[in-house]
């Protein structure tokens, strides 16, 4: 177990090196850099520009810069965002809570809706309910996330029931504590629905398929034969076994915390990490991009590790390979 965890964590090192090297290389191929906009300004002297370039190491080849960056990161310094004029770590920390909140709510929404729907569809197989939910799953898996977000904004604009975007109202500071929470919740409703819908469909389909596999197992027949009430059979014997594979999707949820909501955050102008990363890419704010790539890779590996451990803990049959 400990060996397994250690091995996974060790794998993180070459992964991070490879990924950052690749991103660094690709970004160095991009014409211009984050100083390009101020080069166009006339009131900045060439000497100052040269000094700036020197301080950021831009006068050196990309591999030297990569090594410099690596050295700084090992000393805990992720660099400085030129666009926002703050340290990258502070910038990321400002945005993390909003993204985390959005992802948690949509995750909770997806599970809370998918489990009853999937179980109902599997128990009443081939009923109109089953057909309806299958159709719904198809529809929500086929609709592009950004189009759904666009429809949600459109809906908000037409009805006026929900805010058009953002995390909180302008007058947020003047609300009572409960009013503040309600305000944020009000802003969260649409992004949560949009982000969670795809998850609902995926989870529902997997759960239904697993359920149908398990329900034909011999121990289920045995449970029925010994006279257990149907709801005990379904919830204690079938459900527990059917929900296991879903746990492995938990890892992807953690992994997708950063990139999953990029499109939705941009369309719905939700001030989270996704929005920050996209604008950092567009403005070639290199250190922000690199730090967020590092962060999301770590989250990916940790997420997968977490779901593997969870699976082993819940299902005694799963043994983690120590090698």
């Amino acid at each position: 177990m400990v060996l397994f965890v250690l091995r996974r964590l060790l794998f993180l090192i070459p992964l991070l090196l490879g990924v950052t090297l690749l991103v660094f290389f690709l970004m160095s191929l991009t014409p211009g850099n984050f100083l390009t906009p101020i080069k166009a300004q006339r009131d900045i002297s060439p000497e100052f520009l040269a000094a700036l370039e020197k301080s950021f190491g831009l006068d050196r080849p990309w591999y030297t810069r990569y090594l410099l960056w690596l050295r700084n990161v090992l000393h805990g310094d992720f660099g400085y965002s030129w666009t926002y004029k703050v340290a990258v770590v502070d910038l990321l920390w400002q945005r993390v809570p909003a993204t985390l909140l959005l992802n948690l709510t949509s995750f909770a929404f997806a599970w809370a809706v998918a489990i009853p729907l999937g179980v109902l569809a599997a128990v009443h197989r081939n009923s109109w309910w089953d057909r309806l939910t299958t159709l719904f799953a198809y529809a929500s898996l086929s609709i592009p996330e950004f189009f759904l977000a666009l429809l949600a904004v459109y809906f908000a604009a037409r009805t006026g029931w929900f805010p058009l975007g953002g995390l909180m109202s302008i007058e947020h500071e003047f609300f009572s504590p409960i009013g503040k929470i309600l305000d944020i919740a009000h802003h969260l409703v649409l992004p949560t629905l949009v982000l969670g819908l795809g998850g609902v469909a995926t989870l529902m389909r997997i759960l239904r398929a697993n359920f149908l596999d398990v329900i034909r197992a011999e121990y289920v027949t045995a449970a029925r034969a010994k006279g257990l009430p149907e709801h005990v059979v379904i919830w204690r014997h079938v459900f527990r076994n059917a929900v296991n594979p879903l746990l492995s999707t938990l890892g992807y949820v953690v992994a997708g915390l950063l990139s999953g909501s990029l499109l939705v955050e941009n369309v719905m102008s939700y001030p989270g990490l996704g929005q920050l990363i996209y604008s950092a890419f567009i403005r070639q704010d290199q250190f922000v991009v690199l730090a967020s790539v590092v962060l999301s890779c770590i989250l990916l590996v940790l997420g997968n590790l977490f779901s593997d451990i969870l699976l082993a803990w819940i299902d005694p049959r799963v043994r983690l390979p120590a090698r």
Partner: protein, 356 residues
């Protein structure tokens, strides 16, 4: 692992005989027909502007004594783009009129279009956008991008995945570990970041045709790793079977074994994988163009058209017709998903998802 030889006629027959499969094929057939004949079916070119008719609503059709006609509209309030139909005034739809020149299938020069109206008037079946371009025409031209990008992308990535995964699984050794570490690396990077980084790395001063190619290559570069891993797994398990040993004993070269003995056994997987991964390419292109780093104006693409619909004016004044490209993406992706699921049910009954 069951290796079911894919009998093409059998699979085709079974897919068509299922209602879902027939529906998916019918929708896809219709869409590809539209994309193929887009210049003929579209009354206007993708870049034809009309600044006097911005945000024009869809023109309604009526019957007159001279045949099918469209209502004429007057601009009641230019600041709000409010149009009102002029009572009693119509323009007759003419069939097969001469319009702007184009090349059908990129080969045959042609000037005829399916329908149109007398030039000063315009027919907007799905309204017009912010600079008066016909949304219906742009939708048809955009279909060319979306419907072809999936096919080309999947052929590249499945080809690369097949070669890399097949060789890795068959030969093993250092090549195997190199390929597998590379795929792990590719899969570990969040797709959208890599997409953004790659897109940024290749300068933006490309023509629209080059950008199209670039997007296909980038998307396939991201997509081959999944295919390679599955092919490697299948090749590994096939490698252990006796018919491969028999082939080696008869002295066939490794290439020939891969080509003649392993590939046919992978065909059914490849078919399913192709149908189920095409939506990823369509959505990827749409997302890239939506973010403004894909297909560039004045070319038409569904994602690009949706990006235009992000303006506040669109939401406030209820220009719903600008959202039709989203519906088009939805229908296309749904049809491919439906086809993929049906194919899986037909080829590999063990992995059924649909009607058990």
């Amino acid at each position: 692992m069951k290796a079911i030889p894919a009998k093409r006629s059998g699979v085709w027959h079974q897919v068509v005989s299922r209602p879902r499969g027939a529906l998916a094929l019918a929708i896809l057939g219709f869409l590809y027909f539209c994309a193929l004949f887009a210049p003929f079916l579209a009354p206007y070119g993708p870049g034809d502007q009309d600044l006097r008719r911005t945000y024009h609503p869809p023109t309604s059709l009526t019957w007159t004594r001279r045949g099918l006609a469209v209502r004429l509209y007057e601009n009641a309030d230019p600041s709000q783009a409010l149009y009102r139909p002029i009572p009693g005034r119509t323009a007759v739809i003419r069939w097969l009129p001469i319009g702007h020149p184009y090349r059908l299938f990129g080969l045959f020069p042609c000037r005829r279009h399916l329908f149109g109206v007398e030039p000063p008037q315009k027919v907007y079946l799905l309204g017009s956008d912010s600079i008066g371009r016909d949304v219906f025409s742009r939708l048809l031209y955009g279909a060319q991008v979306s419907l072809s990008i999936g096919l080309i992308g999947i052929s590249i990535s499945l080809g690369v995945g097949l070669v890399a995964g097949g060789l890795a699984g068959y030969f093993g050794g250092w090549f195997d570990s190199v390929v597998m570490r590379t795929t792990e690396l590719l899969m570990a990077i969040p797709g959208l970041y890599l997409l953004l980084a790659l897109r940024g790395a290749f300068a933006s001063q490309f023509g629209s045709g080059e950008v199209y190619l670039l997007i296909v290559i980038i998307l396939s570069f991201l997509g081959w790793s999944g295919a390679a891993r599955v092919v490697r797994g299948l090749a590994l398990s096939l490698r252990a079977q006796t018919f491969v040993d028999a082939a080696i004993v008869t002295g066939l070269s490794p290439w020939r074994i891969l080509w003649r003995h392993l590939l046919p056994n992978l065909a059914s997987y490849l078919l399913i994988a192709a149908a189920l991964s095409i939506p990823g390419y369509i959505l990827g292109e749409a997302a890239l163009s939506f973010l403004g780093i894909g297909i560039q104006e004045p070319s038409a693409s569904w994602g690009l058209m949706l990006a235009q619909a992000q303006e506040m004016k669109v939401f406030m004044c209820n220009f719903w017709w600008l959202l039709t490209p989203g519906a088009a993406v939805f229908v296309t992706v749904a049809a491919f998903n439906l086809l993929g699921d049906t194919l899986r049910d037909v080829i590999d009954p063990h992995f059924r998802t649909g009607d058990r």
